[in-house]
Symmetry: C2
Subunit: 107 residues, 2 copies
Amino acid sequence: MDTALKALAEPRRREILKLVWSEERAAAEIAASFSDVTRSAISQHLGVLREAELVLERRDGVRRIYKANHKQMERVRHFLEEYWTESLDRLRDLAETAEREKENTNG
Amino acid sequence: MDTALKALAEPRRREILKLVWSEERAAAEIAASFSDVTRSAISQHLGVLREAELVLERRDGVRRIYKANHKQMERVRHFLEEYWTESLDRLRDLAETAEREKENTNG
DNA sequence: TACTTACGTAAGTATACGCTAACGTAAGGA
DNA sequence: TCCTTACGTTAGCGTATACTTACGTAAGTA
């Protein structure tokens, strides 16, 4: 999961992920979308995304076709949701405890 | 925003953030929660979180008191929400376009 | 004033990261 | 078989990161 979060912390990788979110794309096609960087750099980014299981790879002859792994994205989303709410829950619990203690001292 | 995402990609910093989420804590108190790392390392993590505006600092005599900046956390949350839904919207749009095109070829 | 406490900061180190250039390789065509 | 295409991989480089140790410093205390 941490691998996925680190992968997402990179702006370029988020761009790549968007490209393959709703459409499969070959590595060359993805690389062509970035003019300021070599194909090799993109290939390495794809490797990171692959390792984080944020994209899935399929071979088509000489080409490698990528698409986003929505399941993994959902896992990340869920993890963060847990992270926020766990913290928010603690806040709420604290507020409730404070409320109860106030009542006790008042009573 | 990217600064904040990178800050959150670090597990240790997420732990620190949880510590100060619902309660203010002094730097020394935070550092004391981590036995496998020096106070200096924690101080530097706090610096990163401060720079990302994920925590707020207050002075109390010789102590520095930290607390989570919920507003910034909300901004990050919103940014990610946008990121997911923007991608999901594109998926939906694509599906609708495909549906319409199917109808056209059928008609 | 001298000492302690509670911090940040600077210097140094090992490792990771993002990148380029160069190389290796499987798939397909002439 | 030789060439091209479409890739991944490796080596090397500069910079960033996470850390430790050592130092600097403002705020209290004796």
